[in-house]
Homo-oligomer: 416 residues x 2
């Protein structure tokens, strides 16, 4: 699937403009990738680095897995030691450095130390990410060589986005800008997916940059809210990863008065952040392993925000409905079943469901509709499932994809 510009402009807030370059669209950031042999295919990028010219106010969210990778512990310890500040992140792909014992922790720490020493910064200002196969020790000689040879540059955002990929079929990046009190503020981002994807508190790997000056508490609060409504609302296979991490680095170079609740530009910053995280999350779902269709589930009329979220995620996580979407089969009974199993409070006799704009369920029963139109609604690259619970005023959106032979092929022999 290509990336028609429609995906980028969809939901772009008023006053927010697109920019090119991903994480390095923002002044004061450099990035790049290199190939050091962690992945078996020669020449494939497997190490990436993002560097800020100065320490950044940093917010982050991490996986809630009980078997989290050692990188999660290292990042949390560093953020605590630095007072929620960071200046660089080093990422390897091809190896998750998870279930690797005490050695895994030492290796993650060593990645930070080597990066800090290359850049001449405090190791506590370095974040570490790893993604790939679980259970194998990092080949530290290769990692070390990679850190030595990588050259982050001002235009390196697209390379950075490529360097963090595993089974992704394309890099995922975007950037935006807006004016606040006469200053131009930019945000850029890169992310990767695309299997073991049912984030809870974070996504697989996501890095956002901004030149806004932002108060730390406001940054963490805005970022957590944005992550909740974006990365925490996507599904590929209902599997949560051990390495999910999402970061935003704010270097303050825009020169604005630090953003906080009510400050000039704060609302626009939140809107731009929301747009960017939702764009990147949708791209992750669209590039789900084996996916041929993006599924957008919009729930309205829920009694509580939690019910809206449960209902929306319940539909994107239904494997049997994902198969129907793969087959272009408007078998909406499975949407009903998924809603019933989702844990959301609902009255089954009040449910309205439309596939695209074809109303297929009205008041909990099959509506009269053209079968051909319903088939058409699930036959394209974007499948919209619009649900009204008719039980309150809350809504939520979840993004998913279809379940195809491609997903199974990708995952049946991953370690071979």
């Amino acid at each position: 699937m290509s990336d028609p510009s429609d995906y980028k402009t969809r939901d772009l807030p008023a006053g927010v403009r697109l920019c090119e370059g991903g994480v390095t669209a923002v002044q004061g950031f450099r990035a790049g990738n290199t190939s050091c042999g962690i992945k078996s295919e020669a020449g494939t990028p497997d190490l990436a680095m993002l560097v800020a010219d100065r320490p950044c106010v940093t917010a982050a969210t991490f996986t809630t897995s009980r078997t989290a990778s050692h990188i999660i512990r290292v990042c949390k310890e560093h953020l605590a030691a630095s007072g929620q500040r960071a200046q660089a992140v080093v990422v390897n792909s091809g190896n998750a450095n998870c279930a690797t014992g005490a050695r895994g922790y030492r290796d993650a720490e060593r990645m930070a130390v080597l990066t800090a020493s290359k850049l001449g910064v405090d190791p506590a200002l370095v974040m570490v990410s790893s993604t790939g196969i679980i259970g194998r020790p990092l080949p530290m000689d290769k990692v070390e060589q990679g850190i030595r040879q990588i050259e982050p540059v001002a235009g390196g955002g697209p390379d950075f986005a490529r360097g963090i990929m595993t089974t992704d079929t394309r890099p995922k990046l975007n950037a935006v800008e807006f004016e606040a009190a006469g200053m131009t503020i930019r945000l850029g981002g890169a992310t990767k997916g695309v299997g073991m994807m049912y984030p809870n508190m974070a996504t697989m790997l996501c890095y956002l940059t901004t030149d806004a000056a932002v108060e730390p508490a406001f940054l963490q609060r805005s970022f957590s809210a944005a992550v909740d409504d974006s990365f925490n609302m996507i599904n590929v296979d209902h599997d949560m990863s051990t390495n999910d991490s999402a970061f935003i680095f704010a270097n303050g170079l825009a020169g604005n008065e630090p953003l906080r609740e009510g400050a000039p530009g704060a609302d626009q910053f939140v809107a731009a952040l929301r747009y960017l995280t939702r764009y990147l999350a949708r791209e992750q779902a669209r590039d789900g392993e084996g996916a041929t269709r993006l599924m957008i589930v919009q729930v309205r009329g829920a009694r509580t925000p939690a019910d809206a979220r449960k209902a929306a995620r319940g539909v994107t996580t239904s494997a049997i409905w994902q198969c129907a979407v793969a087959g272009g089969d408007p078998n909406w009974g499975r949407v009903i079943a998924a809603l019933g199993a989702s844990g959301a409070e609902l009255d089954p006799d009040k449910l309205d469901i439309a596939l695209g704009d074809v109303l297929v369920v009205c008041s909990g029963m099959g509506a009269s509709y053209e079968q051909a139109a319903a088939k058409q609604a699930v036959a394209g690259p974007d499948v919209y499932v619009n649900i009204n619970l008719n039980g309150g005023g809350h809504e939520a959106t979840s993004w998913g994809c279809d379940l195809t032979h491609g997903y199974i092929d990708e995952n049946a022999t991953y370690t071979r």
Copy 2:
């Protein structure tokens, strides 16, 4: 996959013997099936009936779905009206009678009334089950004809098991007997799977019969406990159905003193019930849609029973690990990830994991093992994942299957 006798004798408790005939292995029960055109393939059985010669003490568990089929309401109302007694169950396959509005409720009630009138019993003594496509009204003319023409007979247990099938590749039935205080007590059962399978409080459809006299409260308690450790521990696709129902009918013809806590034979009854429900649950997992391998996940050393259950189910429900099992890939990192995401309390550095008898993870890290032996352990029809959390004294078993092209093919165009 055939049903080698090993599956039947596995875990058979001491003093419990196998019998032939499924639900009609038990005296005083008749059963059968017929074809009345609910399914499109001519001659395929799509209506089944199980009849007791007298009212039975009855225990049941049902789906917890918020969009449950009308049959669930009818069964609950009838059991309340009859004082937890039943004498017959009528089952149609091919149509779930769910999301069919007020008409669906009337149709389910009418199935009971027609059956009651055929048998000359009170409609409140009739249970109703439906399974198949969601969202289409029942073709009541065909159902009515089926109820008229069906002839339950004493040897009809195997036909009954065939009559309730949807995408099952084979009928699932079994029966056992044991001696209690000089009396012989039998239990028989039939069940069906095999998609939209992640039961919670019940299975898809399951019917057990026994000639034991059993006190109602003891029957419900024993049955609920057995269901919790069997049907509620299987997974095919993490989708809970709208129609899950499980019943046990006890007609008392064995002439024993009614079973209750501590009565002669009560412990053996519980053991036989546990064997039978676990056997049938395992058969459901083994016949999961598209399945080529049965997965048996055994968790020991959990801090609480709930942690053991969460950990075991977490592994059978991991789609990405199910794919690895399909590919015969001993990619145990995904077991680690699934355990971490399961919600079970655990210390990642204490995990031991064996595939079959090949120890692949020791104290949370890769053990040294022969790769060929590990591959062998996931290459056969039964894949054992033995997990020790080393954190307490509780254990649980969950049954699942691999995820293959077959599952997707089965579900991509189900309504076409």
